[in-house]
Each structure stands twice: as structure tokens, then as C-alpha cells.
């Protein structure tokens, strides 16, 4: 059961990572050159950012809940093993992950609000920076989650 939940959590995280990365790149202020080639990056950025808002909110919340359900197993099995092997940095990056996810959950209402309503240019910067902040949280959590899940193979 716990393995199935872990795999589901990972798959939802992949979907969230893709959605937030599309949106984060789409709100870059640097516009692609008008006569420039239609590169992969331009295609990746050239999306309707508003279409990603609800999926990102839902995926972030569900993935966080999945992580919360997995957390007891981590606390019982993994963390003591890391402590026994004096691996403080691994515990540290995970602790940062849990803080970022919690702060991200709190940001979801204002993120959703600023994207949902056409507030105009006065909220454009806030929208962009909130998106980048959430993107940082998701990338950190994704990388740390995967490294810790595979840490026995990663470390010598």
C-alpha cells in the first residue's frame, strides 16, 4: 500500500512539475524575438498560463496530502537511519522540503486569486513572483524527494 502511494505521489509530482514549469517560463518578461526561430524553449513558454492555474492548485494540494500520508513511514524508517549514519544534510534538505510545502499550501489561495481575476498590470508582478516561488518549492521538493527515495543507491 505504501509503495503504491509513493508511486502515485511521484506521478502527481511529475505532472505538477510540468505544469508549474510551463507557467513559470511563460511569465518570463523576456519575450522571444519576433522574427526568431520557434525553438523548443519558445514552444514550451508559449502556453496559456491561466489554463494551468486550477490544475496547479489541485495537484499541489493533492501531492502535499499524499506526502503527508507518506510522512509517518519516513519518520519511523528513513529519518532514524539517516541519523544513525550521521547524514544531517539529508535530514536538513528534507526538513526544508516540508517547510516549503507548508508555506506553498498557504500561498495557494492568493496565487489562485491573482490568476483567476483580471486584476490588470498592478498584480502582474505579484502573479509572476508567486508563480516562481511555487515553482522553486515544487522543484526543490521533487529533487529532494527523489534523492532521498534513492539515497541508498546514491550514497557510497
Amino acid at each position: 500500500m505504501i509503495v503504491a502511494l509513493l508511486i502515485l505521489h511521484g506521478l502527481l509530482a511529475v505532472a505538477l512539475l510540468g505544469a508549474i514549469t510551463h507557467q513559470a517560463l511563460s511569465v518570463l518578461t523576456i519575450a522571444p524575438a519576433a522574427n526568431g526561430r520557434w525553438t523548443f524553449v519558445n514552444r514550451f513558454r508559449g502556453v496559456d498560463a491561466t489554463a494551468y492555474v486550477t490544475p496547479i492548485v489541485v495537484l499541489f494540494a493533492i501531492t502535499a496530502i499524499g506526502g503527508a500520508l507518506l510522512y509517518p513511514q519516513y519518520r519511523i524508517d528513513v529519518r532514524p537511519a539517516l541519523e544513525d549514519t550521521q547524514n544531517a544534510a539529508a535530514n536538513g534538505v528534507f526538513e526544508i522540503k516540508e517547510h516549503l510545502v507548508a508555506i506553498g499550501l498557504g500561498l495557494l489561495p492568493v496565487y489562485w486569486l491573482f490568476w483567476r481575476k483580471p486584476h490588470g498590470p498592478e498584480t502582474a508582478a505579484a502573479r509572476r513572483y508567486l508563480t516562481w516561488l511555487l515553482a522553486f518549492f515544487v522543484w526543490w521538493s521533487f529533487i529532494v524527494g527523489h534523492v532521498l527515495n534513492n539515497i541508498r543507491g546514491v550514497l557510497p
Binding site: P72, I76, N91, A102, L107, L108, V110, A126
Partner: protein
Amino acid sequence: MKDSRLTIFSIMFGVLYLVAFYYDLALFRYYPEVRQFHWLRNDGLGVVILWYGWIATATLASAAIAFAVPRNMAERLWPGWAWIIPTAAVVGMLIYERRWFVS
């Protein structure tokens, strides 16, 4: 909850989460080895998870502040605070969590 109240909730959440974390103000504690929730500390029940309790504390406190702030004041809030204050909270957290990486 009106729009301005949602903004205040989000602005306050990160700060109050860090306060709950730093001062150990978890609303409740979960002991995974015995699968029990407790309001108070119980040292004999094995490892403890405080994270759920910190989130609950921050949620309740942020919601209380969001409803307590007068509406006209909430509506005059500059939108930039919505990302600046959470970013400052993240930076503060990262500075505090350096403790894991220095010997």
C-alpha cells in the same frame, strides 16, 4: 472569505507557520509508532510528528487575522506584499536551517 481576506491569509500563513515551528506551537502532535494524536507532549510514545500541528496552528491563526483585519484596510493592501513577505519567510527559514549543513 472575500478576496482581500484570502490575500491576508496567504501573507500571514508563511510567517505564522515559521513562528509555530520556531516556538514549537504545534496545535497537536502525531505519534506514528502508536498511531495516536495528542494535544500535549507524550515522551513515551516514540517519535513525534509536529508538522501537521504547525500547519494547523498557522491555518487557524492566519484565518483569525484575515477575519480580524478591517475590510477597508485589507482592500488597500499593496499586492506586492503577497510575494515579498512569504519570500522573506522562506529566506529566514533557509538561514535558520543552515544548522543542518554546518558541523
